[in-house]
């Protein structure tokens, strides 16, 4: 590897987040540079003769022509290693807490801070010894990064060989933890260019579900581990609520939350809640398994563009250790808008709605960084990791025909379309079961039949069918009135109302309801089905529909989501018993 050469140029033009510099002959595309007297970080995005155009990751106010640009020839990288978890970074991986110099609550410009603390002491437990042969991706030892997560220290890309020396015990960022026979060495930190996917041995098919604990997702619209789900919705439909619910309750090892161009006050919510919320599995604070990358809407636009790449690079790093990682991106539309803003400053020919024509390509490249993979490393250390991407999208006016939603729908396997009408009536998660889909379901159905219950797939089909029939019956009712409907049709409306209120609606604010195990989901479905079957039988034997609607047992069903997941099966059996009793009694009358 040749040492990068420093190249110095002069600012010629400044427009919004872009700067043009001359005298830049020899610089490489997508390398970083320090712009102006205060040294704002920028990245080279266009070359033309000895002119280079840079996107600047900080506000360019105050820059003048004639100031210097210094290019160090390095790409935009993320620093990877222990200490990432619990931390909060901005879009270019500057730690926000460390940026609060003294008492200043505002972000000053031109600050350069190393993402990870070089001097922090870690306890390193070696797994290899002198003389062992290791290759890229092999785990040389572990560090307890948090009480929840053990950091597995991997041989960085392009290193490896016979270990000459390996440390034990206290290490810091400046230590040569492993020295190889050929004189090369590795420490606890490594850097990776954020725009390049980290390599894997091979990708694996999506066979396992990503468990969210949210009934409408797990039962109806699952996303596979290593898959992609997109959550488009107009403002106020609860995208952020969905993202946060999944960040809190999903069964995953690590969560990376990228607040891309979103609200500062909402990030405050995440920052204050996560250290207090306990992971139900480990009983430890959620923050111990979380990294937050945040570039709020008023922070510089180019750093917003970089934030999702910074996020996914960290996700891939933990995936490579063999962890299941969930990346929550909120929202990709803000990322696309940053791209559009920069593109228009470059005076590129716009594509649809002013977005650059390469929007789809970049989005596809991002989504494809998700996946369930076999990680790099020797065969004896076979590990499987996964990165699942849940991306919120904010279509203007809630109209899904816009380019970002449309491009995303081509790549993502699951669509959770949020519906303003459901949100207006405070039905959360406001996921429309009519427009949403999951392409993973077929592949996952084997798992459902094996790990949940043999008839789980059939029950799901029954529920989908019920909801579909409901919308048909509703159309008829709009014309002729509910009273004029056939009794069987009214029963469909009644049952689907129970399914919507009790099953599909779920409150993250109620302790017992926030996370539903698959067992609970299955048995809730069983109860609702029993209600419909018994009521149908009662109707056939001459009972009146009004009696069924007014039956007190219905309110039992409408409250069952507030029962604990543990032991729910017994509760469900009791309720089914009550249903049978109530409707047989109906028949006797």
């Amino acid at each position: 590897m040749t040492e990068p050469i420093e190249i110095r140029g002069i600012i010629e033009a400044v427009s919004g987040p872009t700067v043009v510099a001359t005298g830049m002959r020899g610089v490489k595309m997508h390398t970083t540079a320090y712009v102006g007297n205060i040294g704002l970080l920028g990245e080279i995005i266009r070359l033309n003769g000895d002119r280079a155009t840079l996107q600047v990751y900080e506000d360019t106010g105050g820059l003048s022509t004639g100031e210097e640009v210094v290019c160090d020839g390095l790409p935009l990288t993320a620093m990877l290693g222990p200490g990432l978890l619990t931390e909060v970074f901005d879009g270019i991986q500057r730690p926000l807490a460390e940026m609060m110099t003294g008492d200043d609550p505002f972000i000053q410009r031109g600050l350069t801070i190393t993402p990870l603390d070089q001097n922090r002491l870690w306890t390193f437990v070696p797994l290899k010894k002198q003389g062992d042969v290791v290759e890229t991706g092999d785990i040389v030892g572990t560090i307890e990064e948090t009480k929840t997560i053990t950091h597995r220290l991997m041989v960085p890309h392009g290193r490896g060989g016979v270990i000459k020396d390996i440390m034990r015990g206290n290490v810091t960022g400046s230590d040569r933890v492993v020295v190889f026979e050929d004189g090369s060495h590795m420490g606890i930190f490594q850097r990776w260019p954020v725009r390049t996917p980290r390599p894997v041995k091979r990708k694996l098919p999506p066979e396992l579900p990503f468990i969210t604990g949210q009934r409408v997702f797990d039962t109806l619209l699952p996303v596979a581990e290593g898959g992609c789900a997109i959550v488009p919705g107009g403002f106020g439909t609860g995208k952020t609520m969905v993202e946060q619910a999944i960040a809190k309750y999903s069964r995953t090892d690590i969560v990376i939350y990228v607040g891309c161009g979103e609200r500062g006050n909402e990030i405050t919510d995440v920052l204050t809640e996560f250290p207090e919320l306990m992971d139900p599995e480990t009983g430890r604070p959620l923050s111990e398994r979380t990294i937050i990358v945040v570039n709020t809407s008023n922070m510089p636009v180019a750093a917003r563009e970089a934030s999702i790449f910074t996020g996914i690079t960290m996700a891939e790093y933990y995936r490579d250790m063999g962890y299941r990682v969930a990346l929550m991106a909120d929202s990709l539309s803000r990322w696309a808008e940053a791209l559009r803003e920069i593109s228009s400053r470059l005076e590129e020919m716009p594509g649809e709605e002013g977005f650059p024509p390469y929007l789809g390509t970049l989005l596809g490249g991002f989504y494809e960084r998700a996946g369930r993979t076999e990680c790099l490393g020797s065969d004896s250390e076979r590990r499987i990791g996964a990165t699942t991407v849940i991306a919120a999208i904010s279509p203007p006016g809630g109209d899904f025909s816009e380019p970002v939603t449309q491009a995303s729908m081509r790549f993502a396997g699951t669509l959770w379309a949020l519906d303003a009408d459901l949100a207006y009536r405070r039905h959360y998660p406001a996921v429309s079961w009519e427009t949403s889909y999951s392409l993973y379901y077929k592949k996952l159905s084997e798992w459902y039949e094996r790990d949940v219950a043999p008839d789980m797939v059939e029950l799901r089909g029954w529920l989908m069918n019920l909801l579909q029939r409901e919308s048909e019956v509703r159309e008829v009712a709009q014309i002729i009135g509910i009273d004029a409907l056939q009794e069987a049709d009214r029963l469909i409306l009644e049952t689907s109302q129970v399914a919507r209120e009790a099953f599909l609606r779920q409150s993250v604010f109620v302790e017992n309801d926030a996370f539903a195990t698959f067992e609970k989901q299955y048995w809730m479905l069983k109860v609702i089905r029993a209600f419909m079957d018994c009521a149908e039988a009662a109707l056939k034997s001459g009972s009146y529909i009004d009696r069924i609607i007014g039956s007190p047992v219905k309110s039992r069903l409408l409250k069952m989501q507030y029962e604990k997941s543990e032991g729910f099966k017994d509760k469900a059996m009791t309720i089914i018993g009550e249903i049978e009793l109530a409707f047989t009694a109906e028949e006797d009358r």
């Binding site: 940026m99 106020g236 006050n265 809407s297 109209d399 405070r426 004029a484 219905k554």
Partner: protein
């Protein structure tokens, strides 16, 4: 800063509100300058963009009479600033921060750049303190908290100004705390200006108010400065002086139109409805200045008013605003026609920070459940009403009829409270009484 003021007679073009000048040595983006016109006319300008030799300057007071031969540009060597002091309270300024109330200039305690800096998300304090506005549709269903930005989406002829004034007058803070109002107006009519002045004076709030007023007849570029100046003043009062600041900004539609004028004068590629593609980022740089900061006493709460063209909530201005602010209060023409005041359409209205500000120690236990239930029942009632208009009331079931009656009552008594004020207890009480008319089995959201 240069000690010698340089003067450049190098204007090469004038285009709408924009002047192009050549060879300005050492000027920076965002720098303020003066444009000198023969006859001792000095105008204020700001450098927007630098392209090699050429600087793009927007002129605040308009470009009339500027010529290429005799006019000149004098860079000031500093970014746009505003002078700040607690003496601002009770005063009225122009949209550029000059006194317009026949009183002398204020003596500055501090001079700040009006663009401000983003608040570090790690320094933000959780907005969780309830503000009682006295308006049931807000307090009960879309609770406002300190540090929130909650816009009012209005339409031509709807009483947004009245509502904003009512919020300002009735907002309570606990004793011992200092409360003040920063009022920023862009492109409002003199009639509106009188309305606000009289309203604030009648409520005795005027001496706690700083007003920055750009009238509809004032130069368009000024409108881009007014909200930034108002918010800089608000940040100063809140984070330096410890005030609980309520910022009312009206009308954001005028602001966005000014943004569009500049964009088209700069030959930018337009976005939706020819508003600039960076409007989201630009609006965010204003709205996001709301908040609370750890270790500081004060707070900045922002209530912007937006007139939706053609009452269209998907228009780019309300749409982008809704994506930045923490909810919205939407006014309804239909309810206004039914003489319901305040005519708040609660279904599309939302306060994202509501859950932080309500509950046992703040408002009441069960507030959230009550609010959810009111929403669910009202939404159902509205559905029924729509159906009744097709099939007639005879086609409804008894339960549906009850829901329709509930919705009517809800609009008339809960939302339509008139101009009076309600405490949060009264608000919740009215809501509960309305729900009692529905059968218990329908109240699935309430804790029993």
């Amino acid at each position: 800063m240069d000690l010698i003021r340089r003067e450049y007679s190098t204007i090469s073009g004038v285009y709408g509100p924009i002047v192009f000048a050549q060879g300005l040595v050492g000027v920076s983006v965002g720098e303020m300058c003066q444009v000198k016109i023969p006859g001792d006319d000095l105008r204020t300008g700001q450098v927007l963009e630098l392209r090699g030799e050429r600087a793009v300057i927007q002129v605040l007071e308009g470009t009339r009479d500027i010529d290429i031969v005799d006019s000149s540009v004098l860079p000031k060597g500093e970014l746009a600033t505003v002078t700040l002091s607690t003496d601002m309270l009770g005063r009225t300024f122009s949209g550029l921060g000059e006194p317009v109330d026949d009183l002398p200039q204020i003596i500055p305690e501090q001079v700040s750049e009006i663009n401000g800096l983003p608040i570090n998300p790690a320094a933000r304090d959780k907005p969780n303190l309830f503000i009682q506005t006295g308006i049931s549709a807000i307090d009960g269903l879309n609770t406002l908290v300190r540090g929130q930005k909650l816009p009012i989406f209005s339409g031509a002829g709807l009483p947004a100004n009245e509502l904003a004034l009512q919020i300002v007058k009735q907002s309570r803070v606990s004793s011992g705390e200092e409360f003040c109002v920063v009022f920023g107006a862009m492109g409002i009519t003199s009639r509106d200006a009188f309305f606000f002045r009289e309203g604030l004076e009648a409520a005795g709030t005027m001496e706690r108010t700083v007003a920055y007023i750009n009238l509809a007849s004032d130069p368009i570029i000024e409108k881009l400065f007014t909200p930034r100046i108002a918010l800089t003043a608000a940040e100063f009062l809140a984070f330096e002086k410890g005030y609980q600041v309520m910022v009312v900004i009206t009308d954001m539609t005028s602001y966005c139109d000014a943004l569009r004028v500049i964009g088209s004068a700069r030959d930018e590629i337009p976005g939706r409805r020819s508003y600039p593609g960076y409007m989201y980022t630009d609006l965010a740089s204003l709205y996001e200045r709301a908040g609370r900061i750890k270790g500081r006493k004060g707070s900045v709460t922002v209530v912007p008013i937006i007139s939706m063209p053609e009452d269209d909530i998907t228009h780019p201005i309300p749409d982008l605003t809704g994506y930045i602010t923490e909810g919205q209060i939407v006014l309804s023409r239909a309810m206004h026609r039914k003489s319901i005041y305040p005519p708040i359409d609660v279904l599309p209205s939302l306060s994202r920070l509501m859950n932080n500000g309500i509950g046992p120690d703040k408002t009441a236990d069960g507030h959230k459940e009550l609010s959810d239930q009111l929403y669910a029942s009202y939404a159902r009632g509205c559905d029924v009403r729509r159906m009744a208009s097709i099939v007639g009331e005879e086609g409804l079931s008894d339960l549906d009829r009850l829901h329709m009656q509930f919705s009517d009552g809800f609009e008339r008594t809960f939302i339509g409270q008139g101009e009076g004020e309600r405490t949060i207890e009264e608000t919740l009480d009215v809501g509960m009484k309305l729900l009692e008319k529905l059968p218990k089995s329908e109240l699935t959201r309430l804790k029993q």
